[in-house]
């Protein structure tokens, strides 16, 4: 029987947590189509991570590994080769995972080679062939139907729960494929070092915008962030101005986040920023401009200068923690 196959990313012998919502979306597609759920781990030596993933099971029938020296570091070229090979070998007809920068890069390439459609950024599974996805910066939700024997999907990580461990399943190896990088060479990744949680994983996010004026002023936001164990974010205006690194950007063209609590400080609330954070559970806006559009989506709006409001809020939280 044809399968639903989820492509997983791993680090340090473990699944990367951002992949877990993709498994949940795939499990819903598996239920809707009556096809079994399978997981795939790619890498130079995927076995240890595959064993750890198989021990948790995540509702899958099996975990498959595909090993190859060209699969690390990640390139879309070699990964697409491997995904195509695995899909054919395993007889997968639905292939996907969480919409990370990795799968956004590799899956469309693989889908094109297999002449299959890809439904991107799925936020809801309506049936086995119809999916809801946001368009136009989240201002509309489109129901998209695919008419194809094989199709791909990417799932928006903020819209599905993390898959939970269900019990051990077997690990099976897929015979190696000829995966090659087409001459591409990854020379390295300049990571933004941070002891804070990842933006897409954090329960609390404190974001600053153009009104912060300069990078040094983000120190104050960092205090609030760290008191709450959150992640630091920024609007496009702030990252473009070089106040903070670009990978902190929240928005249509940055990260899509949905934490329990989102602080928008000195952020006006452009459509493209709202597209990245309006799924947050509780939104707090602090802005000196009472007319700022951010107040239209905020659960709690405070018209105030950040220079005064943020230090006072930090004091109050510290006092409560001390008590």
């Amino acid at each position: 029987m044809s399968k639903v196959l989820v492509i997983l990313e791993t680090a340090g012998g473990q699944i990367r947590p951002h992949c877990l919502p993709g498994i949940t979306c795939a499990a819903e597609i598996a239920r809707a189509t009556g096809k079994p759920l399978h997981l795939l781990v790619l890498g130079a030596q995927p076995d240890a991570a595959a064993q750890a993933i198989a021990a948790a099971g995540y509702g899958a029938a099996a975990v498959h590994t595909l090993a190859g020296p060209t699969l690390e570091p990640f390139t879309a070229e070699a990964w697409a080769d491997a995904i195509i090979h695995a899909a054919r070998t395993l007889g997968a007809s639905v292939i996907g995972g969480t919409a990370s920068s990795t799968l956004r890069d590799a899956l469309p390439r693989a889908a094109a080679v297999l002449d299959a459609p890809l439904v991107s950024e799925v936020v809801k599974v309506k049936s086995g062939d119809t999916f809801v996805r946001p368009i136009s910066a989240g201002r509309a939700l489109q129901d998209q139907k695919v008419n194809a024997g094989t199709f791909f999907f990417t799932a928006r990580g903020t819209e599905f729960e993390h898959a939970q461990p269900t019990g051990a399943v077997p690990v099976q190896a897929v015979a190696a494929a000829a995966a090659n990088t087409r001459g591409a060479v990854v020379q390295g990744v300049q990571k933004t070092e941070s002891s804070r949680p990842q933006l897409t994983e954090a329960k609390v996010i404190v974001s600053g915008g153009r009104g912060m004026r300069e990078g040094a002023n983000f120190k104050l936001l960092e205090q609030l962030t760290d008191l709450l164990g959150g992640a630091l974010g920024a609007s496009r205006a702030a990252t473009d101005a070089g106040m903070v690194p670009a990978d902190l950007q929240v928005g249509q063209t940055g990260k899509i986040v949905a934490p329990e609590l989102y602080f928008a400080v000195a952020i006006s609330g452009a459509i493209q920023h709202l597209a990245g954070m309006k799924g947050s559970k509780t939104i707090v806006a602090i802005n000196k401009d009472a007319e700022a559009p951010i107040f239209q989506v905020a659960d709690y709006g405070l018209v105030a200068k950040w220079e005064e409001a943020v230090p006072r809020l930090v004091e109050l939280i510290k006092a409560r923690k001390g008590a």
Binding site: Q144, N147, G183, K191, T200, L228, E260
Partner: protein, 272 residues
């Protein structure tokens, strides 16, 4: 060196959406270029030109897929400085992403281009697939979500800084290749071609068309091709079966003081 840039027009993203009959009504929309496609053209032009010289290192061809009557959708890009245009005469509403990608790949082959530069996303459909699909169809390397591009003319290769979830990945790709561009590609020093002085700082953003550029654009050739000329069958296996507005957030409340905000967050929302 031949650079192909694919572009698309979209309904003005600053206008509010009109929901009608289970879909979106664009009949009164103002159509504007997709912003990421303007960044793609800007990238191509920065690679092609030598600032302070008259030499041209590459030909820049702008490609649009749409009815022939929409020739003007290419005019702005020609006015910015692209050398010539190609229109594939087809109704984009009747094409799925897979078919659009096949048409672009076919033009790339027909032109024997060295580089496709595309926006990473269209602001309306937000599929984020076309450049990667074209690279797969052409079986060439790809560098998606580019924030910086450096052209090594001698080695016929590009070194691309890619915006990935963890930071910036540096990937070197030999030509021919496909590059999709992200926002920061239009910062002043994001694109280097080895001939323009490395210290040169461009004005941020895509360039505006000059008056001379606008006049010249009208005289630049635009070829019109049919999908059948390219051997691509048109069709779609994707169907939009409904469009709805997302649920609105319930109206929030204004608080007067930081103390009141703190009180609400701890006692009402119970989030801190």
């Amino acid at each position: 060196m031949k650079i192909l840039v694919c572009v698309k027009r979209i309904p003005d993203p600053d206008e509010s959406l009109k929901f009608a009959g289970g879909g979106l009504d664009y009949s009164a929309s103002k159509w504007v270029p997709n912003a990421f496609d303007e960044y793609a053209i800007e990238t191509a032009l920065r690679l092609a030109e030598v600032v302070g010289g008259t030499q041209r290192l590459a030909e820049v061809i702008v490609l649009g897929i749409g009815p022939e009557s929409q020739r003007q959708q290419l005019t702005q890009f020609l006015a910015m400085g692209a050398d010539r245009g190609i229109i594939v005469d087809a109704d984009p509403d009747k094409l799925d992403t897979a078919t659009v990608s096949k048409l672009i790949a076919a033009v790339f082959k027909k032109e024997a281009a060295d580089l496709l530069i595309a926006g990473k996303l269209s602001q309306d459909n937000e599929g984020g697939q076309v450049p990667q699909r074209v690279a797969g169809l052409l079986d060439v390397p790809q560098a998606s979500f580019a924030a910086t591009v450096e052209w090594d003319q001698g080695a016929k290769a590009l070194t691309v800084g890619r915006e990935v979830d963890d930071g910036v990945e540096v990937k070197r790709v030999p030509l021919p290749a496909v590059v999709s561009v992200d926002l920061r590609i239009v910062l002043p020093k994001s694109v280097k071609n080895g001939s323009t002085p490395a210290t040169h700082a461009y004005q941020e953003g895509p360039r505006l068309a000059s008056l001379k550029g606008i006049t010249m654009a009208k005289r630049k050739p635009v070829a019109v091709l049919k999908p059948s000329d390219l051997g691509v069958a048109v069709g779609t296996n994707e169907q939009v079966v409904g469009v709805a507005a997302p649920p609105a957030r319930k109206a929030g409340q204004k608080v007067k003081t930081v103390e009141e905000l703190f009180e609400k967050l701890t006692k009402e929302a119970k989030v801190i």
